[in-house]
Symmetry: C2
Subunit: 126 residues, 2 copies
DNA sequence: CAGCATCCCACAAGATACTG
DNA sequence: CAGTATCTTGTGGGATGCTG
């Protein structure tokens, strides 16, 4: 995201476009389900129902929506096998795997600071 | 987060507690506004209104809520100056700064793959 | 099995107004 | 200026049912 000062200069129309696109992508990606799905996929190829089982608490609908969104942004590859019953497999693409690295970092952060955070909550909630 | 197999064994009650706590924290933190606020704070100390100006599009209410949440989890430090008019300053704590590093990574990722993503969207939307 | 459509409710979040 | 409270609305997201 670019700085506020740049944002309003007319001559930087393309920068502003890139910026708004970046915000859009950020909003797409910075949400709980999307990140958990990416984390669940990891290096593996999973069927729809397998992803559902991996991502605890996700509803059928949320899963479909987020998988579509991730597919649209080119983060997951969706492969439909024309069999009966249908078999649909999802795999992270290269950009998806790159993002997963940062999700891993967040997970690592979470575990690292679990104690800190629990303590902070205790203090705050008193 | 631990694996599914562990999750249901009674003897792993503390592991399960840690896991549910981790999920809770992840849900708190993996949301657009929280991440944008953390990014906006960076290394600086900002007043409430300054954060509002930095984080484009955030409403007064969302900002207060998220700042409270971040404070509760010990990611930001809130300092109230008992002056008239009041002056309230927010600063990232050490855990907060550590998380910011990962937010930076996401921002970096966004810019790095902007082109890929735009192209993928074009293909998908056809 | 996976996906889509429909219905519906709860809650997220905006707008507004009032206080220290 | 920052925060809280109240009211209202839009929409996220669950439940259900139908199709290829």
């Amino acid at each position: 995201m670019v700085t506020k000062q740049l944002r309003d200069l007319p001559e930087n129309a393309d920068l502003r476009r890139a910026d708004s696109l970046a915000r859009e992508i950020f909003s797409d990606v910075a949400n709980k389900w999307a990140l958990l799905i990416i984390e669940a996929l990891g290096e593996r190829t999973l069927r729809f129902s397998e992803v559902r089982d991996e991502v605890e608490g996700v509803s059928h609908k949320m899963l479909t929506q987020n998988l579509r969104m991730l597919e649209r942004n080119g983060l997951v590859d969706r492969k439909v096998h024309p069999t009966v019953p249908p078999r649909v497999e999802y795999t992270l693409t290269e950009p998806g795997r790159a993002l997963r690295a940062t999700v891993d970092a967040i997970c690592g952060w979470t575990h690292r600071y679990l104690g800190h955070i629990e303590a902070a909550r205790g203090r705050f909630d008193e």
